[in-house]
Structure formats: structure tokens, C-alpha cells
């Protein structure tokens, strides 16, 4: 529950559209059919007392506090479970119901501690409120009878306390865990007086609880309460803003005392999350004030030198002078920048503008290069633009959900909860993943088909699905003929009809039984509403772009586009991946995905910026590394990304960064990249930023500062000042002015402004004259490119293959409690759940190597090695191992290679041939990370495939 409560109408909204008229306490009100009497009363402005009811949960009818009288009906029905009827006359305040309510409250309070004055939620407690509302003045039963007041607290969770002595067993927490989160970690244990809330036969930390906070949010008492509230007291004001973790982009209310954040509460008004949250957004925000924050600009001549703290003026002048000097000596193309998907649209915008107008080249790239750049290529080639087709709500209308290369319960947990809700309601599920991810079998959800393919064979599997659908006559011929290019379809039809694409022909290659694949394809084709959700398990392959086009082909073939419940939906990794791509961060295109070679587009920017723009593409991140090693690229500005930890083949990255004359890092912390930097500029956390994020459903949300920038400047100000110091005047009065410029130059953002966002909450692009209220679902009547284009998608095996020396395939990913390189989450109590990256390995592969669960193992590929603790896991297939990349100590990317997507250079993180051995022959020095070892001189010969010039 929250101090600064949002309105709570008691029960969820009824779908309508039919309406029913009734009277509540003499007030006429018209509500959708199916609405509860309690909600109707609330809509009429009458608050019926309640404890077990809240509008985020289905009515339960247990507390008996919401009793009402209805003309012509006997008794005193619970208003939460009684639906409205036409002409109904409801009385919520009668002597009879008042007496009953007082009796109910008397029983509750007879078994409740009377410590309100010292209770953490004093003044923020529905039980306390209701005691006052019903006029409870005494408890006739006394307090000496049997009670629960000595029940021990459960303090095992680092973020919230569970005090069962204060529990009224209303089941709101249990229902929240079931209905909202879908984890079913909580239960009511025992019967009658012995009934109590329990996280199974263990404590909260040891239970299935995922710490999403839904139970805490739902609790009407102080039973479940944030530890920050216990420590700091109740908040006094709130600011609505947007989470800075994954691409779901949840809206939160930062609740504060002064300028100190007390808690983050998910906003019911948030279009992406509608009041739900995960452990990261809800609780893991303490990094923003962590002692490791870099607070002052630092400069040094050489990497080995100690840092020298300097003023902003000196730091900015130093960067500008050195960058200009490099260009004077090595040419215009010798410098560039990398923008960050953890930064706002406005911050990203100024970086690409600095590169194009102040640096005078197109050497700007963004971290989406290493995650979703194939989405941009694939969806633009087929549909005409780089965007997920649906809003998140669309999944509620899906009949068949195909999840491929994504692990939403870990990486996009709030959307996963929404998806699981739909699955529990009957939608069918196909999972395509080498691992048995949680979605395959989770409480009340079981995948109809799990296509457990070999890593690197996505394209073959997707082609086989299309082959089945086409050759079995399951295609939507009307959609194809009316919405797609006929010539391209004819060519593709001939291509995909080849027996070489049949499930039987590809079974040995993919490892997917042909009958299972045929059944999955038929299910997807049958729909009627079939939706594809995918993640980095699709894109981070040598054929990532091809796989994206395969999915687009499938959706067009079956007519699953242009309405609710369908589509092709990328689940973006970081909070502003979509936005950073939208903002023209790629070296080949300007904002809105318009190619740099388009003279008319360039002309609009040149007119606005007063500076010519190069007409040829600039360098992508891996190209910058290659050019640095070749000696032609000398200066790099890195905004908020830790490329030394996140990018593949760490030795190669470190060599490239080490060869730069000037590496400038702007970040919250001295990360692994900053350890090689010459200038370290303090960044701002999301609690200090002023701007917008765009989530995976193209939803533009405001990021509002809840406190002033702790380092004295917004990040966009620093970038603008560097550009100005380099001779290109860049100046904005506010972040709002930057958005105005974005809207002016980007047709899909034409209708976006801070004023509008503050008024309507959020907008999904395209938002312009043609779609003034935004676009929840794309390609409704026509594709962005006009007609959809089928693209031939031949399967080309990756060159990264297992061998006698490296017989296993490593695939990497994320875990629920950690985020990306862990710079934020490692500085929170989330380390309780994931203190180190571990290597998941099949029992047989472990047994073959004499590895037991927990053993330290040596993980080696052809480019590097590291050590990790093994975790034996039945969810891994034989021959495949898995780990995460959240901790620099293990430095997972030490072993990943330079292999990348053919079209975009997105790294092939998902396939690396490795060997695992018990006890490394040369273990890492205690206290030193894998990256430290590399910096000191890699003991493993590492090929750097660049010829000198």
C-alpha cells in the first residue's frame, strides 16, 4: 500500500461495453455491466469500507467489511462480489451495516497489536483507517485471549519485512502473488484460527518468492512493509517517473521524504506495467546514492597515471581540445562516440548530434549494436520500420504465444506476468529455446511445445515452420494477396517450399523432432490470434537479422499482423534500446530510421543544425575497435556503457581501447571501460535525469528528476558543452527543448512534447498528424513500407562450431535479479540472490568431466578463459552450457568471440564453442578478475585479426 495513495475503486473494471444504471445512496450512476456494487459506489463518489478488496485484484469477499443493503434483496451482501443490476438501489450507510462493520473490525482489532504510534505504517494503514471509518471505539472481547501477537517476524528478504502478528489474513498478498505476479509463492496455511500467510515451508528468502513487491503493495496493514519505510518513515511526496532497467519501461512513483527516496511504487496509470513491478525496479535503486558514484570529473594523461580531479570546465575543455587535436593529426574520421540505451532520448540525441555536427562524421553507434540491431535490419526490410508491432496489452488477446530466444520471466518480468496471466486463462504456448526456461513449465502454465533446438539453428527451425504452414495449406492467402508484395511472395514461396526446409530434412541439424515442429507450426497457424515474442536469443547470432526476417515472414504468411493479439514483438534488453535506435544513434541512419544517404532527410537536419552532414555511413562499434587496432581511430567518447565488460572477446576490446589516444567515459561508476579511460565524466542516475525513455512497445514515457543532478550537470549539458567547445554551438535551455528538436526533425515523433506527455501520460510512436494519439498497434491497414515484403532466408550455419578441443556450446544471457553488466544491481542487495555468475551445465556433461555442483571450473574458448562455479542443471540440454555476464570477476565475455551477425555485426553471444574442465590448470590469481588478468597481460595467446596498414 502507499502513503500517497492512488484512487482504489475496490474491484477491477468490467469490460463493458453495455452499461447499467443504478443508484448508490441516492446518487445515480451508470457503469459497465458486470461492475461490482463496490466499484459502482466508488464511481459515484461513495467509498464503501473495505479491507480484502483492491482494484488490482479480483473480488474475494472475505473481510465482510463492505456489506451493503440493496432494496428488494434480503440480507447484507458484500458489495465487492455483488454485480450491479439495472435499477438497483444501494444503501452503503445504514444502522444495520454500520453495526455489522463495527463487529467485524472489533474482531480484527482484538487480535492486532495496539502499537499504532510506533508502527512503520502509522498513518498509512488501511486497517487503521477502517477502524476510524466504522467508528470502532472499544473491543469488548479484551486482548488477553488466544492471539497471534507473538508470531515471529520474517526478516529474511533484504527489501521487506513480514510481521505475521499484524496480519488479518485478507489474502491480498496471496492473491497478488497469484493473479498479478503469477508465481504462487504464498499460501494461506492452516485452517480457522490457525490460518496464516506463509511462503511455503520456508522463509521468504528461501521460497519461490521473486520479490516483485506485489504482496507488499497489496497489504492493507503493516504486515508486509518495505524495510526502507521501517528505516526512514513514511514518504511525504511523490514524483512519477520511469524505471531505468529493462525494456518494459515500468512507470513508478518515486515516494520521497525531502529529496530522499523512501520507496519506488509501481504506478497503476503506467501503460506498460499497470501497477506491477519486479525486484529490480521496485527495490534495486540504491545504487543511485552508492558511495562508488563518481562525483567529480577526472583526467589523466596515461592509463597508468593516478586520476586528477578537475572542474567541469577543465574536463570539458580537455576533451574538446584533445578530440580536435586528434582530428587535426589523424583526420576527421579518427574519433567517434557510443551512446547508451540507459540514457534518455534527449541524452542520446545530443550525442549523435555532437558526432554529426561537432565531430563532422557519422562515427556514432549505440549499445543496441550488441543486442537488437538485427531487429532494426530485419523489421525494416520486411515491414518498413524498426519497431515491435504491438503494445504489451495486446498479449491479453493472443490465442497462441510463440516465445523464441527470450526468457521473459527473468529479463522482462513485468511483461512475463502479463503473459502468464493470459496463458493461465487458456492461451497456448510454444517455446523455442535450447534451455528449458521457466515459462516451459511454471505454476498453472505449461508449454504445448518446447522446441529445444541446438544453438545457432533458429533460422532452420523458423524456415521449417513456414514450410509446414505453406505446404499444408495453412497460410492466410487473403492477407498475403492483399497486404504483401506479390513478386516477393512468389519468390519466397518457391524458396520455402523446397523439401530442404521441411522439418524432416532439418531435424538432424536442429535437434527438433519433426513431428513436434509440425505440431507447433500448425498451432501457430491456427491462432486465430498468434503472437511472436522474441529476444536476444534470436538477434545475437550470426544470422540474427535473418531470423528476424523469418519471424516477419511467418507473421505475414498467417495474417498475424495489424490487430490486437498478434504481431512480431522484440523484447528489448535495456530500458531505452528502442529510443536510442529511434534517435539516429546508428552510423548509417538519422532519427526515425532514415538512411544517411537520403539527401532530403539530411537537408532537413542541415537546415536545422546549420552544419553539413556526411552522406556515407560511419563506423559501428566493432568497426571502431578494428580501426583503433589498425591505428586510424584514436578518440572515443563512451556514454554510460561498459563496453569492456559487455562486448564480446574482451581481449580484443581491451586491446582496441588500449590503443586509443583519448578514451572519454561518462558514467555513474568507474567501470571496467573507465579503467582504460583518460577522462571520466560523472553521469546522472535515472532519479536525476529529466527526459524520456521509449520502451519496447514504442511507448514514450517521461523520466522526471526526483532530485537535482548530484554532480551538478545533466549529461546532455556536458555533451552540448563539449560540442560547443569544439566549435559547434549547441545549447538548450532544458531537456524539453531537445524533445522539441527531435519532434521537429523526426516525423514519427512530430506530435510528442513534454507538455503533451505530462498531460496524457505516455505516447506510442508514430505520433503525428496521422496518428495524433499515438499508435498502439502498427501496420493496421498497410505496412510502413506499403506492402509487406517476404524475404528469402537461407540457413547459413555459423562458423563457430564445437570441436574436439571445444566440444560444448556456450550461450549467455541474464538472470532476474541482475541487470546487464551489473554496474547498478551489483551495488544493491540483489547480490543476495546472485552474488556471482555461475555456469549451468547438464548433469551428463558435468559427470563426463568429474564436475560436481558448486565446483570451480575452467571455461575456455579459442579466445580466452575464465573460471566459474558450476551449477548442474536439468534444464540444460546435453552439449550446451550457459552463463550470465553480470559480474566482471568472471568476465564471461573473455570467452565470447568476434563472430557476429552478417548484416549488422551484432555479436554472436549465443554460440561459442568452449571446453569446461574441473580445476583450471592456471587459476586466476585470488582477488583478481578475468579482466584484471587480461589487462596485466593475457596468459592465453589471443589472436587479433587485424593487419597493419
Amino acid at each position: 500500500m502507499t502513503t500517497l495513495r492512488e484512487p482504489d475503486l475496490g474491484t477491477p473494471a468490467a469490460p463493458g461495453p453495455e452499461c447499467v444504471a443504478l443508484e448508490v445512496d441516492g446518487i445515480a450512476v451508470e457503469v459497465p455491466a458486470g461492475t461490482s456494487v463496490m466499484r459502482a459506489a466508488a464511481m459515484a463518489g461513495v467509498a464503501v469500507p473495505k479491507l480484502c478488496a483492491t482494484d488490482s485484484l479480483e473480488a474475494f469477499g472475505s473481510c465482510r467489511l463492505c456489506l451493503v443493503e440493496i432494496d428488494g434483496r434480503a440480507g447484507t451482501p458484500a458489495s465487492c462480489t455483488t454485480p450491479v443490476a439495472a435499477g438497483m438501489r444501494v444503501s452503503t450507510q445504514t444502522e444495520r451495516v454500520a453495526r455489522l462493520r463495527r463487529g467485524v473490525m472489533e474482531l480484527y482489532i482484538s487480535d492486532h497489536p495496539l502499537d499504532c504510534l510506533t508502527c512503520p505504517t502509522n498513518g498509512d494503514c488501511e486497517l487503521q483507517d477502517m477502524a476510524g471509518t466504522v467508528g470502532l471505539r472499544d473491543v469488548r472481547y479484551g486482548y488477553a485471549g488466544a492471539n497471534h501477537l507473538d508470531s515471529p517476524k520474517d526478516l529474511s528478504n533484504p527489501y521487506f519485512d513480514f510481521d505475521p502478528a499484524k496480519c488479518i489474513v485478507c489474502s491480498r498478498c496471496v492473491r497478488a502473488c497469484e493473479e498479478i505476479q503469477g508465481t504462487f509463492a504464498l499460501t494461506i496455511e492452516g485452517r480457522g484460527f490457525a490460518s496464516k500467510v506463509a511462503p511455503g515451508p520456508t522463509d521468504f528468502l528461501g521460497s519461490e518468492c521473486v520479490s516483485c513487491g506485489a504482496c507488499v503493495q497489496a497489504c492493507p496493514t503493516s504486515t508486509l512493509v518495505e524495510r526502507s519505510v521501517v528505516r526512514l518513515g513514511t514518504p511525504r511526496r511523490s514524483v512519477e517517473t520511469t524505471c531505468a532497467y529493462c525494456g518494459v519501461g515500468c512507470s513508478f512513483r518515486a515516494e520521497l521524504a525531502g529529496d530522499q527516496v523512501v520507496r519506488m511504487v509501481p504506478a497503476k496509470s503506467g501503460g506498460a506495467n499497470e501497477g506491477h513491478s519486479c525486484v529490480k525496479g521496485r527495490f534495486a535503486w540504491g545504487y543511485a546514492t552508492h558511495r562508488d558514484r563518481v562525483m567529480t570529473p577526472r583526467v589523466r594523461e596515461a592509463v597508468g597515471d593516478p586520476w586528477r580531479e578537475v572542474s567541469w570546465e577543465e574536463a570539458i575543455s580537455h576533451v574538446a581540445t584533445r578530440m580536435a587535436d586528434i582530428q587535426a593529426r589523424h583526420g576527421t574520421q579518427a574519433i567517434g562516440a557510443i551512446s547508451s540505451s540507459r540514457c534518455t532520448n534527449e541524452e542520446v540525441w545530443v550525442v549523435q548530434k555532437m558526432v554529426r555536427a561537432a565531430f563532422g562524421n557519422n562515427n556514432v553507434d549505440t549499445c543496441a549494436r550488441v543486442c537488437h540491431s538485427p531487429t532494426g535490419f530485419g523489421l525494416k526490410s520486411t515491414f518498413g520500420t524498426s519497431a515491435g508491432t504491438q503494445d504489451f496489452k495486446s498479449v491479453e488477446s493472443a490465442d497462441v504465444i510463440l516465445v523464441i530466444g527470450a526468457n521473459p520471466t527473468d529479463a522482462h518480468p513485468v511483461f512475463a506476468s502479463r503473459m502468464k496471466r493470459r496463458l493461465r486463462a487458456g492461451a497456448r504456448l510454444v517455446v523455442v529455446d535450447p534451455r528449458r526456461i521457466d515459462l516451459v513449465r511454471t505454476p498453472h502454465v505449461q508449454a504445448d511445445h518446447h522446441l529445444q533446438l541446438r544453438p545457432g539453428t533458429n533460422v532452420a527451425v523458423l524456415n521449417a515452420m513456414a514450410h509446414v504452414i505453406l505446404t499444408e495449406g495453412l497460410a492466410d492467402r487473403e492477407f498475403v494477396s492483399s497486404r504483401c508484395e506479390p513478386e516477393a511472395f512468389a519468390t519466397w514461396r518457391e524458396f520455402i517450399s523446397s523439401p530442404a526446409h521441411s522439418p524432416e530434412a532439418t531435424e538432424e541439424l536442429t535437434g527438433v523432432p519433426s513431428a513436434e515442429l509440425r505440431a507447433a507450426a500448425r498451432l501457430y497457424a491456427a491462432g486465430p490470434n498468434s503472437a511472436i515474442y522474441y529476444g536476444l536469443g534470436v538477434t545475437e547470432h550470426s544470422q540474427g537479422s535473418t531470423a528476424v526476417m523469418c519471424m516477419a515472414n511467418l507473421a505475414m504468411l498467417t495474417g498475424n499482423l495489424g490487430r490486437q493479439g498478434v504481431g512480431v514483438n522484440p523484447l528489448r534488453g535495456q530500458n531505452n534500446v528502442q529510443g536510442s535506435c529511434d534517435m539516429g544513434s546508428f552510423p548509417h541512419e538519422l532519427s526515425g530510421y532514415r538512411h544517411i544517404s537520403d539527401a532530403s532527410v539530411r537537408a532537413s537536419f542541415e537546415a536545422d543544425w546549420g552544419h553539413p552532414i556526411e552522406d556515407r555511413p560511419g563506423m559501428r562499434i566493432p568497426n571502431m575497435f578494428d580501426a583503433a587496432l589498425a591505428g586510424s581511430f584514436k578518440g572515443l567518447f563512451v556514454q554510460g556503457e561498459d563496453i569492456a565488460q559487455s562486448d564480446p572477446n574482451t581481449a580484443h576490446v581491451l586491446s582496441a581501447l588500449g590503443s586509443l589516444e583519448l578514451l572519454v567515459v561518462q558514467d555513474l561508476f568507474e567501470n571496467e571501460t573507465a579503467k582504460l579511460a583518460h577522462v571520466l565524466l560523472p553521469g546522472t542516475s535515472f532519479l536525476e535525469k529529466d527526459g524520456t525513455f521509449t520502451n519496447a512497445e514504442r511507448r514514450i514515457n517521461r523520466v522526471r528528476p526526483v532530485m537535482a543532478p548530484r554532480v551538478g550537470k545533466q549529461e546532455w549539458e556536458v555533451v552540448a558543452e563539449i560540442a560547443t567547445a569544439m566549435g559547434y554551438e549547441m545549447s538548450y535551455g532544458s531537456a524539453s527543448e531537445i524533445m522539441d528538436e527531435i519532434a521537429r526533425l523526426t516525423p514519427t515523433f512530430a506530435g510528442v512534447s513534454f507538455e503533451r506527455l505530462d498531460r496524457v501520460g505516455s505516447l506510442q510512436w508514430p505520433c503525428n498528424e496521422a496518428a495524433p494519439d499515438g499508435t498502439p498497434v502498427m501496420h493496421v491497414d498497410r505496412f510502413v513500407r506499403g506492402l509487406g515484403r517476404f524475404v528469402e532466408t537461407p540457413f547459413v550455419p555459423t562458423e563457430e562450431r564445437s570441436s574436439r578441443r571445444y566440444p560444448l556450446l556456450l550461450t549467455t544471457g541474464r538472470i532476474l535479479t541482475q541487470y546487464n553488466v551489473g554496474a547498478q544491481t551489483r551495488r544493491t542487495d540483489n547480490v543476495v540472490w546472485h552474488p556471482a555468475d555461475v555456469l549451468e551445465i547438464h548433469p551428463d556433461d558435468a559427470s563426463d568431466r568429474g564436475v560436481a555442483d558448486g565446483d570451480l571450473v575452467y571455461l575456455a574458448s579459442r579466445v580466452g578463459r575464465t573460471t566459474l562455479h558450476a551449477q548442474i542443471s536439468e534444464r540444460m540440454p546435453r552439449g550446451v552450457v550457459y552463463t550470465t555476464f553480470h559480474h566482471p570477476v568472471s568476465g564471461t565475455n573473455v570467452v565470447t568471440t568476434e563472430a557476429s551477425d552478417w548484416a549488422t555485426n551484432c555479436p554472436e553471444y549465443k554460440v561459442t564453442a568452449v571446453q569446461v574442465q574441473l580445476v583450471p590448470p592456471a587459476p586466476l590469481t585470488p582477488g583478481r578478475s578475468a579482466l584484471d588478468e587480461l589487462r596485466a597481460g593475457d596468459p592465453v595467446p589471443v589472436p587479433v585479426p587485424v593487419a597493419g596498414r
Partner: protein
């Protein structure tokens, strides 16, 4: 250990070629050239061009044909 002398552009270009190989050679070369023109920076094209000029060792013939197209006046 002797470091390989094959520049990354060769590996990348060959990979692009592999993904267009299903088309007739002339069409594939056109598509490879269009892809390179759209996404490769001039510095990379120069390096690839230098490999072609030096005999094209290690390069897929489709890439060589595409580079020739990029050099032609129409490109």
C-alpha cells in the same frame, strides 16, 4: 603465436556473400554491393578494395564482383 593477417572486412564480406549466395551470381553481387554501400564506412570499403586490388586472396568471388560494382561509375 603468429597473428592472422586476414583483416576483419574479409571475414565480414564473405559472411555477407554467404547470405546472398542463394541468388544467381549477378543478382547476389548487386545485393552484396548494395549492402556494403548502405552499411559500411568508406574506410572499410577501402580496406576491402585493397584486398581485391591485391588479388582478392581469401575473398568469396561474389564479394570481388560486388567490389567491382562499387567501383563502377554507376555505383
Amino acid at each position: 603465436m603468429t597473428e592472422p593477417t586476414v583483416i576483419p572486412e574479409v571475414r565480414m564480406a564473405n559472411q555477407i556473400a554467404a547470405n546472398f549466395r542463394h541468388h544467381p551470381d549477378a543478382q547476389a553481387a548487386d545485393e552484396i554491393a548494395a549492402h556494403l554501400r548502405s552499411f559500411w564506412t568508406p574506410w572499410m570499403l577501402e580496406r576491402l578494395g585493397a584486398v581485391v586490388a591485391a588479388g582478392g586472396e581469401g575473398l568469396d568471388p561474389l564479394v570481388v564482383a560486388a567490389v567491382d560494382l562499387l567501383r563502377s561509375p554507376a555505383a
